[in-house]
Homo-oligomer: 299 residues x 2
């Protein structure tokens, strides 16, 4: 599982920080979280093809998180995309995508499925689960969590002892499917070890710090949390529905995450040292994201 | 009069060429022609504030010429702009701006005046005149011309001979206003020399070459003409409503312009040498635009 930061600025872009967008390479797919203006160019610089993206997750409908959508969608159409595209986002998404469909002349060559989300699981796939949870911002905002579903270890010796021959039946049992051996049915739990914890990544979107965030980020391997300002601007951040680096670090610490990446950095910070230093005083494994930074989340 | 090329690519952006947009610094203002995705960032790199733009001219409603508008407009609102913004473009502009108004959550702090244009003069100011003319593209596309209105030379000796004292009356006559000296009324034409030709700049938008373009670009000091492909792809260019470098150069030559700038370059050209070389064989004073290129149009 690898995250590629395509944009790490807050409302206004700079030469070094484009608007919010993060690509996640995992499970043989590329998932896109938020899509600020210029994301298609950032993707091309990062050598990520928009054609490989099947799922886009929008945290909220502020321009710096969505204005790159028309460009990505028109670019997909220009290249003759046929595969459907799924877009997940807060209530209002259907209207927003209809706006995008009518923005300028172009022919859509593929289907767009729009998913207006509410708290809970939004994708339950064989290998992963994606959930969302409402956070506190000036407009409806969702944080997303991506959880890797790891299969329990397959205990070969037990299978052989039960009379199963190495081959397709091993694979079925590994994938949780019962098999028949003579007149006996062998169930997966007879040959599988204990449940294994998969990797978990959480992305906050724009939010003030909250108990909800704390709960949602619990034990994550990686928490990507917004950090618009440094600690001393806590009041200002709160009024604008944002967090400081100190607040993000406190969340990371209390939620017992392994690593914290700070993003959505205000233009006032030409260098992000202050944010990183402050965060590390509270939570050591903190890093401020930069555009095109790649973060591998290992087991 | 200075042009700053903010984007010079065709449909797909590259690391070196962003989507179409050109800023014109003239008459104490900044005029924006087309506004592809990422224009606000290109402007910030070129140190041009969106707050200084009062007039935006759109050639046509293809994404690569318009998708930067929501970002520019929201950015102006974010900075608390109060001055009205005028947007000129083909029929459909009102609907397009209404789409932009509803794209994501933001509060518009200023008025947007939308001008759906037809062939002819669209701004007649004291110092300049802006006109437009329909060209041939796959969708309705207008070329724009910017003409500097120069006042005739003020002949000081004639004024003094007519009994006018140096001072405010000189200025009035220079600006074309009659003045009273004793019982006599002195008219501007009594003290002004011959009409002087002002500078003229023409921007094509996306178009195939045409007699209409030839007529519209006549005697321009600078013609900015699209040149998506090199000469051998004339048929392909024609089918897609575009021009080649050779065709653009032929227009420049026949229209008797002083200088030709080629823009809207296909991604297939990593280097633009071919386009420039071909154009120069027909029209010597040809240059392929690059992002952030500045062109001063001198008298």
């Amino acid at each position: 599982m690898e995250l590629v930061f395509l944009g790490t600025s807050s409302a206004i872009p700079t030469s070094h920080r484009n608007h919010s967008s993060i690509a996640l390479k995992a499970f043989g797919e590329i998932f896109l979280f938020d899509c600020g203006e210029g994301t298609q160019l950032q993707m091309s610089k990062a050598k990520i093809s928009p054609m490989k993206i099947n799922n886009i997750f929008i945290t909220h409908f502020h321009g710096d998180h969505i204005l790159g959508l028309p460009g990505i969608i028109q670019s997909m159409a220009f290249r003759g995309r046929k595969n459907p595209l799924h877009i997940f986002g807060p209530k209002g998404l259907v209207e927003m995508v209809n706006i995008i469909r009518n923005f300028g002349y172009f022919s859509l060559t593929f289907e767009i499925y729009m998913h207006e989300i509410e708290d809970g699981i939004i994708i339950e796939a064989e290998n992963y689960r994606i959930s969302c949870s409402k956070m506190n911002h000036t407009v409806l905002n969702f944080a997303y969590s991506i959880y890797e579903k790891r299969r329990p270890k397959f205990i070969k010796e037990k299978a052989i002892a039960l009379g199963i021959n190495p081959g397709p039946d091993f694979g079925k049992l590994q994938r949780g499917i019962a098999v028949k051996v003579g007149d006996n049915i062998i169930h997966p739990e007879q040959v599988l070890g204990e449940e294994r914890k998969g990797r978990k990544i959480v992305y906050s979107g724009d939010t003030t710090p909250s108990d909800q965030m704390l709960e949602f980020a619990k034990d994550a391997d990686l928490l990507v949390h917004e950090s618009t300002f440094e600690g001393k601007y806590g009041d200002e951040a709160g009024e604008m529905g944002h967090s400081t680096s100190v607040q993000a670090a406190e969340i990371a610490k209390k939620a017992n995450v392994k690593r914290l990446i700070l993003t959505h950095v205000s233009t006032r910070y030409k260098k992000s040292d202050i944010l990183e230093t402050e965060a590390r005083e509270i939570f050591e494994n903190s890093t401020v994201a930069e555009d095109f930074m790649q973060i591998e989340v290992e087991r």
